[in-house]
């Protein structure tokens, strides 16, 4: 089928000018888009009011669907798990070979786990702004945001940490009236100061954008981490309260480790919004303020 020739709309001068004008509008629009991106680059927190209003409108929709289809939350990870199956299979086989030697390590991990749960019971009593549902996420974007079904009317403010029952979820980056946008810890722009729970070794956890965390040691030295290490927030920087579980190392390489976040936002029902741990320390000049 030959494409229609749109270049010559006929002999009508008006139609020709109209066509030309539409190209001018398109190029101008693209330039405005570029300008908006550059604006967001210069000031990542600006121009959020419109988007916050949109999430206010859409989060009840997502919430309603979520209430109906509870199981759909894990569908996304199921798909990505399937895609990753071959890799995972190989990794599992390797793991199986070393499994026996690791059994003892696992026992100690179990002990750590129990200790962790005790900690959890303590921190559960820490102050909470509100409890709300995570209703949807930016599943097609490379930034990792989730939408929370509570906003400024429930006391949610910019920068507050969000956690689930099993661990840290992220921070609030945009607040609407009845919804808020959460930057997940798996986003590649997030940095969380953590410590290893077994000995308090300080480290930095940052997202990789693919659902994992990268843990970097603050102490120089090779092979400090091992698979199975559990990390909790340290409280440094004043944003995240201490002793919230963050991740468990699945692979160690030199002074970095790849970790799996302990709170899987896909399976979360409720998330707790907590006040900023130490607002003074978390004020912008603080170097550990999570980047956005």
């Amino acid at each position: 089928m030959p494409p229609q020739n749109k270049r010559r709309p006929g002999f009508s001068r008006k139609a020709q000018y109209g066509l030309f004008a539409s190209y001018v509008v398109a190029v101008t629009g693209a330039l405005v888009g570029l300008l908006l991106v550059i604006t967001a680059w210069v000031d990542p927190r600006g121009s959020n009011a419109v988007r916050a209003a949109i999430t206010d409108l859409t989060s009840p929709i997502s919430g309603a669907i979520r209430a109906v289809v509870r199981g759909a939350g894990s569908a996304g990870t199921a798909v990505s798990d399937y895609f990753d199956a071959a890799n995972k299979n190989a990794a599992m086989r390797r793991e199986l070979e070393g499994a026996r030697a690791k059994l003892i390590a696992a026992r100690s991990a179990e002990y750590e786990n129990r200790r962790l749960k005790r900690l959890l019971a303590i921190s559960e009593t820490s102050p909470t702004v509100t409890a709300a549902r995570l209703v949807s996420s930016s599943a097609s974007s490379t930034r990792r945001f989730a939408i929370l079904s509570a906003g400024s009317t429930s006391g949610v403010r910019h920068g507050q940490p969000v956690r689930g029952a099993t661990g840290l979820v992220g921070t609030i980056v945009e607040v609407g009236l009845a919804s808020a946008r959460v930057l997940l810890i798996t986003d590649a722009g997030t940095v969380v100061p953590v410590i290893r729970i077994s000995d308090g070794l300080p480290a930095i956890a940052s997202g990789t954008g693919d659902g994992r965390l990268e843990i970097r040691s603050l102490n120089a030295g090779a092979n400090v981490f091992k698979a199975g290490d559990i990390f909790v927030t340290s409280g440094t920087g004043g944003v995240y309260p201490p002793q919230i579980p963050v991740g468990i190392a699945i692979r160690a390489a030199g002074d970095t480790a790849t970790a799996r976040p302990l709170a899987d936002p896909a399976k979360l029902d409720f998330a707790l919004v907590q006040p900023i741990y130490q607002p003074l320390a978390a004020a912008p000049p603080a170097p550990e303020e999570p980047a956005e």
């Binding site: 398109a26 629009g29 888009g33 859409t58 997502s62 939350g73 949807s136 097609s140 974007s141």
Partner: protein, 170 residues
Amino acid sequence: MRQAIRSDREERVARLRGQILPAISTVLGSAVTLLPIVAAAPILPPFGLLMLLSWRLIRPELWPIWVGIPLGLADDLLSGQPIGSAVLLWTLVLLGIDQLDRRTMFRDYWQDWLIAAAAIIVCLAGGLLTANITGGHTEFAVIVPQILFSVLAYPIVARFCALLDRWRLS
């Protein structure tokens, strides 16, 4: 037969449907991110973009060239990308397809798929770029599965679009 005698009102509804259905369906495609999938990695194909490409490739005369601006803006507001990202990329892609239309002599289905695949790669890689300069540090490897899914999903979306088109013109 479908073309039974219509009342004036039915006629008006059908005409309105013919005009707004493509835009509505594209915005709904962007709104797929509202589904309660809280994903840890970007795996969902950008259905808004796929709908846009399908409509553009099935019905080249349907939309003016600047349609990427309003539809891209709607996608930005829904997708979590920095605002302006899809406005820029979608318009560039539409301009590119327009240029291609002028240069190619004939067109068949496989070419459509190829063009759509190129457009998807441009948009997702560009989206990664805009997301990264506004604060992310995601690596390119992370979006490779998403690109593959999207390219494979294009024929399905195009079929769906053709179905909608038949309903639109009925």
